[in-house]
Subunit: 323 residues, 2 copies
């Protein structure tokens, strides 16, 4: 199966569950908590859970499908709360939960999604109680670190001396650990051994970090006609991304681009500067190495299969995608 | 052992753990999430976990102590988020988390406490994985219902036709289910059978409801010299408590007391009216019956022991306490 076809089929199933969830009761809280779930999304974390499960034990994904939902519900919980904290009014092209309802309802909606996630984890079929406990531990620990990562991210906004190691640790927490939990939980619930679970966890974690680094590259490189977003906004705002930090650490001065508007020519000039100075190459190299290492780690403990190939394809896609 | 002595020893242990938690790291998030934990409190939910465990298997409480923390951390999580939603600036005599820091930090602090609670549940010793999964299910389901209860509570503020059954269902969710989970989790982790877990769950749930009803009675009956709070504020504000609802359903008119200030004489008159008309008796009867039924239910499946006696004493205290 093609990766794109596989991801599409997972997304359709998750969309359908989100739809059913939204209709379960007609309370305000049910509607508010379903709002963002119904906004679509790539559903990459559920795909990671299911592929990891099938790579460990062919067919396991059908038994543990509700764990895939647990990851998507958790991801959505973090987005709903992040939107309140960041004061964002749009997400996936829809008004955010606290805008449609209010902050109190949005706080509760996030809490409800989080609670549901643990209920979903416990309700998987044909998995040992031991593996469920491991899954709960991975998910709760991930949530703890996500909160820490979000706090660090906010604190970075008022600093201009963030080191690359600090940035990578923040991104590990904010984005990496939930992909880590996705892959680790899929492997655990399918009956994987400790080495397999660890290899999947690492692969997921590195994938999440690489995904975020690629997001920063896309912000710089992708014209608005393709991304649908403002180009180079991180550069203009002097946001402490790995690109900006690496440039500073390599003595590349980007201060002339920190202003309210950049022309197409100025953006092209900045890209050229970052390419020629080796900043882009260094940043790309960091994520490529993380992906390569974790693929090798996984290959040493999980036998070849269609699902393993799809996982490798998916993580490659994370660092090569253009938007 | 005397109940008061037992509760004091539990509170001291929980206070000590809260203190250690606050020192684990020195991040803002750690401090913010520890803030309310350090504010003391009666620690009744931890006591319920530990007594239920020992009533099922003598000595189990030492093994599963971290589950008691899980309940206190969860309770604190709900308070931190409630304080944001209700805009409250004081709790346990200290400024609330969102006042000391800000809303974003308070949202994260609540989320972190909640995540930790599940980690604590998974880390108990000498308990089967099956019982841990049950514990996670009870805690996550409780959180889901607490959110629903909070939403219903807010929606009642703009209504004057709330029925007693609606009120009791709201209180069951908002206060009952966490005591239910406390008792059920203690029993499950100690190796209790399904009947024992169910009996403890019901006892905890009814206890929580009765606790809230007693709170409403205390608001009316207790002079500020004793309670440290404004007397009869619910009556003045025409809050939809079980007392107010029962009065309305029994045709007792309290509208003359819905005003900004009540003299001591007016409060005494209102109390006399509610006593003479049978409203107070009816409300007291509801909580007394719930406690009696659940004590009988527990006595039929859990053998007599010092801990069972302490639980019975504790639930009696819930409906007899004066403040």
């Amino acid at each position: 199966m093609e990766l794109s076809e596989y991801l599409k089929s997972v997304a359709e199933k998750v969309d359908q569950e989100a739809d059913e969830y939204s209709k379960a009761t007609d309370t305000t809280l049910q509607k508010a908590s379903a709002h963002l779930l119904l906004g679509g999304g790539k559903r990459l974390r559920p795909a990671m859970v299911l592929l990891a499960a099938d790579a460990v034990r062919k067919g396991a994904s059908a038994d543990i499908f509700s764990a895939a939902l647990a990851l998507e519900w958790t991801h959505t919980f973090t987005l709903v709360h992040d939107d309140i904290m960041d004061g964002d009014s749009l997400r996936r092209g829809r008004p955010t939960v606290h805008v449609v309802w209010n902050e109190a309802t949005a706080i509760l909606a996030g809490d409800v999604l989080y609670a549901r996630a643990f209920e979903y984890l416990c309700s998987v079929k044909n998995a040992s109680a031991e593996s469920k406990v491991k899954a709960v531990q991975m998910l709760s620990h991930a949530c703890y670190e996500i909160c820490e990562g979000q706090e660090e991210d906010v604190s970075f906004e008022t600093r201009n001396d963030v080191r690359a190691s600090e940035y990578l640790e923040m991104v590990r927490k904010k984005t990496g650990v939930l992909y880590a939990a996705a892959a680790g939980i899929g492997a655990a619930l399918a009956g994987g051994d400790a080495k397999q679970i660890a290899a999947f966890y690492t692969l997921g974690q590195n994938t999440g970090i690489a995904f975020q680094i690629q997001d920063d590259i896309i912000d710089l490189m992708t014209p608005p006609e393709i991304s649908g977003k403002d180009q180079a906004s991180d550069l203009r705002e002097n946001k402490q991304t790995l690109l900006a930090i690496t440039a500073r650490e390599m003595g590349v001065d980007l201060s002339k681009y920190h202003k309210d508007h950049l022309t197409k020519e100025e953006i092209a000039e900045a890209i050229a500067l970052l390419e020629m100075s080796g900043v882009l190459g260094k940043v790309r190299g960091i994520s490529e190495k993380m992906i390569a290492d974790s693929k090798a780690g996984l290959a040493s403990v999980v036998p070849a299969s269609e699902e393993r190939d799809l996982i490798f394809e998916m993580v490659d896609f994370f660092i090569t995608r253009g938007y």
